[in-house]
Amino acid sequence: MAVVRTLLYLVVYPGLLFLFLYSTFCEWFDRKVYARFQNRMGPTHTGRFGLLQPIADFVKLLSKEDVVPEAADKRLFAVLPIIGLAVVSTAGLLLPVWNFDLANPGWTSFSGDIIVMLYLLSLPTLILFLAAWSSTNLFSTIGGARVLTMLFGYEVPLFLAVLSPAILANSWRLAEIAAFYQRKPLLLLPNLLAFIIALIAVQAKLERTPFDIPHAETEIVGGTFTEYSGKKLALFRLTFDIELVVSSGLLAAVFLGGFPGGAVVGFIHFVVKTLFVIFLLCLLRALTSRIRVDQVISFAWKYLAPLAVLQLLAIILLKGFLP
């Protein structure tokens, strides 16, 4: 019975199938809101309100011819999208949506899972770099180099920013951090600065405007994905969508008080909070223009990292005054 339940967890809910459906919904939401910001309609005619648009894209890409460049490292080229998908889906399992019961935690919740989560979320970046490098295209190579350069910019501020609520909650477990803030919602306020920093860093991690430098289409064509087509491109797009869900889930769990209230209410909390985070990310995307890669680095180290350290200091001081 336990095996069946675990399998169900892994494959259906909250595992792959749910993540797949929810991430396509999030992509639709993102595109639609982005379009509405721009006074456009966005996807409308695919399914109701265009809800099925990401699925149509996905299926179409699956059914397309798969071209592998002659010069590319074929095995690496083929296997990377699958690894990327596996990594982000694993990270998705660590979200404290389903293991809300603190006393009886599932095997996906353990002390230190926040560290594992952050680590799993930085893996796709490296996979992206490898993917770009293995396709040996000039534009992909430049894109890959930009991916790595950006990694040095946003990773440290993100870690520092996520650290501060964890320190305040005195725990390395996502579920416990969430539970702490559910008890004391007012304490979410001191973390506001960290939340903003984390939002910007996640935006950079997801390579969305203003940080879409690695695949800036007006500069380096398709960037990292220039040579990917068909199934592999579909998997990469799915990877990014799931990463969007997982990182917004992480931000919601850490900064917005998690998803309390059992299966149904918790699920509603999950949807509302992740959509809120995605909305903010989308607003950021509509609001800004792409900046240069050197500007990303200097912005991250001149403003984001010092602010994150400041936030950390403030939190530690605050913790001293708290009972």
């Binding site: 509405r36 910001f37 721009q38 006074n39 456009r40 309609m41 607003l283 509509a286 609001l287």
Partner: protein
């Protein structure tokens, strides 16, 4: 320099009706003088070839089918036409034998289908006198 100057505009438009027109389901209106596709009014044509001479894109071809009966054939190549309406300006008859309509959605998967073809009898300048004789043969638009 301010932060997020674009924000009010974006938020204002979030709940506004989009500027999008519902095109394929609701046709757009074109202004009254819109230059669409050229067509021939065969009763009026005097086969002077002014339109053929002035067409910049070789879109009009006039050939003689039967010199004795004064039967002519005009082919308008809509795949070459640049919709400049110079043929209408060059046409010497009143009312004009060459005219433009406002049709522009003529996308097609075959270039042969984009040709418009007329066989007509050379009309005299006063169409009323010539109309009875010309009527049976004239105006056979084959599309």
């Amino acid at each position: 320099m301010k932060i997020a100057v674009f924000l009010p505009e974006l938020l204002r438009h979030l709940f506004k009706k989009p500027a999008t027109v519902d095109y394929p389901f609701k046709k757009l209106e074109v202004p009254k003088d819109f230059r669409g596709t050229p067509y021939l009014n065969p009763e009026m044509c005097i086969a002077c070839r002014a339109c053929e001479r002035d067409c910049p894109a070789e879109a009009i071809e006039i050939s003689s089918v039967n010199e004795a009966e004064k039967r002519f054939r005009m082919v308008i190549h809509n795949d070459r036409c640049i919709h400049c309406a110079q043929c209408v300006d060059s046409c010497p008859t009143t009312p004009k034998a060459m005219q433009m309509d406002s049709l522009f959605e003529i996308a097609c998967d075959d270039r042969h289908k984009l040709k418009t073809d007329w066989v007509y009898v050379r009309a005299v300048l006063k169409p009323k006198a010539a109309a009875p004789a010309a009527a049976p043969q004239a105006a056979e638009p084959k599309t």
